[in-house]
Assembly symmetry: D2
Homo-oligomer: 347 residues x 4
């Protein structure tokens, strides 16, 4: 049994981590922190965990040494005390953006501040098993991908790896996301009467996740990513719709082959592409609570365009689920451990 | 391993049964039937099961003998062929209303037609473990409760059993339900533009589930149940709000004691009653996919009234989950087997 | 042209008042106040009014004399400065609860504080034209009804006025409401991920609107009102489901006659009671933006019960619309002026 | 008073037409047709019109001559009987796609069948006043634009007209739409449990509205339109997000000037582009019931990209509202007549 603690467990990502780890047969959840809820039972904040655990939140100052520390803190907060976290545990899995980018210069550009520990960026691996499984196995420092970027990267990675994308043409990605992606803090934009039924562009240009997408798709050169983000009515779920242009004529069968090759052995990747039916393309609603990433595509031969759709639950494959999957990879547990829930229909 | 088949597995209740039984360690799902989808992979109808099973639907005429047969058919259909089902399997668990009522006269009154096999009504047990656990253990014929009735009965049963309800006064129960309760068949009332955002009385008087509620709460006499049903915006979930009047003055502590006594050992019953917090009373949204029934109450001393709130996922505790729980009871498996999912927050 | 100002125009009720009065042919909107938004264009807060008005919010300290002053302030705030408001305008229409109750003792009981100007309570008329049209015509001080109470009172008033209700039996009223009823201030309970999809009892007993309902229905004695409130998924809309017990046997035709008599000439009351169809009973979603109150009922002869359903848009007939209607009555304008919008289908 | 009839008034577009025309001071609605509802009061189908009209549906075979005939029929149906409709009325306004495209070859390509009256295509004007006001004034045959195409065209037209778009680069347009766009006919994909909470690609490539968009934006050559359509949770509303690449370096001020010039005098176009605030970009939810088209944009100088967001109510500016606006233009009525409703906040 590994002794695992979670820093920042009152947020939505941290709450999902806790839910997953409580049912993990190889894990003992030792401590969960929340400054504002210290002393409270966790079910007061995460009501779904009532009768599932007697844990109470503690302040992060009360943290004891453990085997693995998950960090589920707001962006910019993990890096501040990274020395301290590293003293507490030999293995760290960070869900924030603080150690995702390899190039220190990307931080001032995309996040508006310098990185406080640029020397550590090279120690962290981008924790997406589909792209970095071997590195994750051998790393003690893992940085989970962002939610919108995870959906985009998993949708596009096979095409970029295969080198079939025209890198001179724009890659337009539209990420649509539910409200939980904005976190648990109240604000007017998340106030129910204002947020309900929204179709709301919130970052048509300049979204921070662009940096990760570029980083992870630069197999054969730097792609021209034009990323936009739209908030829509849902609590969970991301649908990424990406438009890429091919560098040669291809038919559907060839595209199929590329996706099959990339994802054949992946436990959480499903290619969803049917000729008919309501769910003929990927759709996040049936992924609620599951760790799947569903990917589909459609060829537009007139324009040499491929439209790639990819769907995830932003709090699962886009956050806590991805982190637990990486944790399983790192420790040699079956990769689906604690991640077996298939999602619901209807929902 | 028990060989289990599901009749009517393309519906919402049948689909949930299938999802649960596929993960049940003591079960092999042998066959699942659907007349209109025979020959299709189940994931074509239940897209959440993609990559989880290779099963295809078969016609019910192709059904083979098995150990347990779950019937998830429209009301009135199970009874027609009950002799046939009984030949196919020694144990039958029916999710329809066809064998819920003990009194044959209730069928013409509430369902508008005579029962075709009144002699069998006495053989079936009402499959709610909280009320009939011992009978379920010893019965081969189990009839699951209705969705709205399950929520109402589990909310009120402790008070009626304890004999503290004034049986001369009305018991007013308002059941609020999501759209999946009306099933998978298309109709104008379930057409999204018409159904979305609904607060819609659909059965203010005369709802069929009234018969079950009266039957199961008649511990000390027949209660005067005034039941109304309202459709509201949600896919899953039932919140039952019941107003009962006490036959004597009581304080909150005495009520607590009654509920604690009734539900202390129950794996799926939680008493939810906090003095503050968003989730201080039962709420179905955090139960999505879980088998819990959350029950809370509030005393209105001025009127001698207790307001009892009870929440379930209508397809789980209100249908498939209840059936699997009864199945576990019947075969001596741990009662929570395949029902461990706690629900999500946020959702 | 009457010179009209609105105090508290940045809230949801105030915003609707402004929308309605901007299109009122007999009104010039002089000033609209908001302390936190003073100096801003109103469309920054109410984006639907972009290009409809050049008004900016002012601080209430900048208010000038006018012909009519609408008060759309939080409860408890209007009464504090009532002397000041009365100096500013000869006619005051208050949307808060501060002057709704005739009995000063109701304030400490239901609102937890004494009334600061009990001597004025007798000067205000309860601004519901269906019950108090003649008094409104002759009053300079009008207090609009609460949202949940308006739906309940308009649903039940004909039965109570006709004297057919058994006053010894409980009257159970379940009010279901959307999120805008809780106002524009952010809170965890209105945070979209927490509020979305809610079926949430928030005041099962002791709701303040009970006091108004009792006050307005005491035609032949004090009714035993048991009121509960549930928040459900919607931004606007209230559905009140009331269960009353008759003091004699009656058939549907007699009930029809009572409702027809009460509401035949009312411009905003519609009796909705069809034998079939999706919208056979009242439903708030088709009332969004309209001032109608739809009322329907169903007789449960077994229990001598009548279930009365009544639906409104809480911000219209339940707040701003009711206030403008009373304003029209007071000044002799056609009662539907500025209130002609019929609602949408589908929505 | 013009005598106006509506063919196909039981659908969602026809119902909105009826609602608008009933309040039009220069119109007498003579007849409204529905084959399946002939003989029924219109409020049985459009419950928002209860107490607003005594009209009953008639069969189209009962249609009498009138001044203006609105056709709100399914695509492919209007053209079949166009000779008949032309005999009935001197002015025809068609809401279907049957006469939108100028090039007869576009019909087999995009709609899968030949046009039955290609000789009439030249007689119809594309009924979008912002692009064709003068032609509409002088035409007796008007064909309203499609819903998704209207949003896209109105968002992009100023840039294409100004000639600042790089026509060699792709124009990627993502149209997001609510469920009413799929019409009133029931189907599994619109069944509430399946449709609720959807983020569903339904036409990633090959959407028919592409033809109109190309047609209307070909000011300086044929643009390379890559259009995709996604269904999301909402009943009404379209948000079009378009990514265009400029043919020269430009700054925001120049873009502002282009949009201001194009839309300065337009009664229903609003440029929505604020530096902060929840509604800083166009958003369809506050347009529900209104005829506005809100347009905003954001420059991405790194990529020479402009992201253009445009929002409409698909049943108003995207169907019935656009048609009534064209009707007003054609007959010289003030263009906003019967289209004054500003939309609601919150909603």
């Amino acid at each position: 049994m590994l002794k695992v603690s979670i820093v920042g467990a009152s947020g939505y990502g941290g709450g999902e981590l806790l839910r997953l780890l409580l049912d993990h047969p190889e894990v003992e959840v030792a401590q969960v922190t929340s400054e504002s809820n210290a002393g409270k039972f966790v079910y007061k904040v995460h009501p779904n965990l009532r009768k599932r655990t007697d844990l109470k939140f503690v302040s992060s100052s009360e943290l004891e040494k453990c085997d693995v520390l998950f960090l589920a803190l707001p962006h910019g907060t993990a890096m501040e005390k990274i020395d301290h976290w590293m003293e507490l545990a030999p293995v760290i899995i960070d869900l924030s953006a603080d150690f995702r980018l390899r190039n220190p210069e990307d931080y001032p550009k995309w996040y508006g501040h310098d990185h406080t520990h640029p020397e550590l960026l090279g120690k962290f691996v981008y924790g997406m098993p589909e792209l970095h499984r071997e590195e994750i196995k051998n790393s003690n420092y893992i940085s989970s991908g962002g939610c919108l970027s995870t959906a985009a990267i998993l949708g596009l990675y096979p095409l970029f790896q295969a080198g079939v994308v025209d890198l001179d043409k724009p890659v337009v990605i539209e990420g649509k996301t539910g409200s939980s992606g904005a976190g648990g803090g109240v604000s007017l934009s998340s106030h129910h009467p204002e947020r309900s039924g929204a179709m709301r562009s919130f970052k048509p240009t300049g979204h921070r996740h662009t940096a990760e997408i570029v980083q992870e798709l630069s197999f054969h050169g730097k792609p021209k990513i034009s990323f936009s983000a739209t908030a829509i009515e849902a609590v969970r779920g991301i649908l990424s719709t990406a438009h890429v242009f091919l560098n040669k004529e291809m038919d559907e069968r060839e595209l199929w082959r590329i996706y099959r090759k990339a994802y054949a052995g992946e436990p959480f990747m499903r290619i969803v592409k049917e000729s008919s039916g309501v769910y003929r393309y990927p759709e996040p609603k049936i992924l609620t609570g599951s760790n799947y990433c569903d990917v589909g595509f459609e060829l537009d031969p007139d324009n040499g365009r491929v439209v790639v759709m990819s769907a995830i639950d932003n709090l699962m494959k886009g956050a806590a689920g991805q982190a637990v999957q990486a944790f399983n990879v790192r420790f040699g547990f079956p990769e689906t451990t604690a991640l077996e829930f298939p999602g619901l229909h209807p929902i």
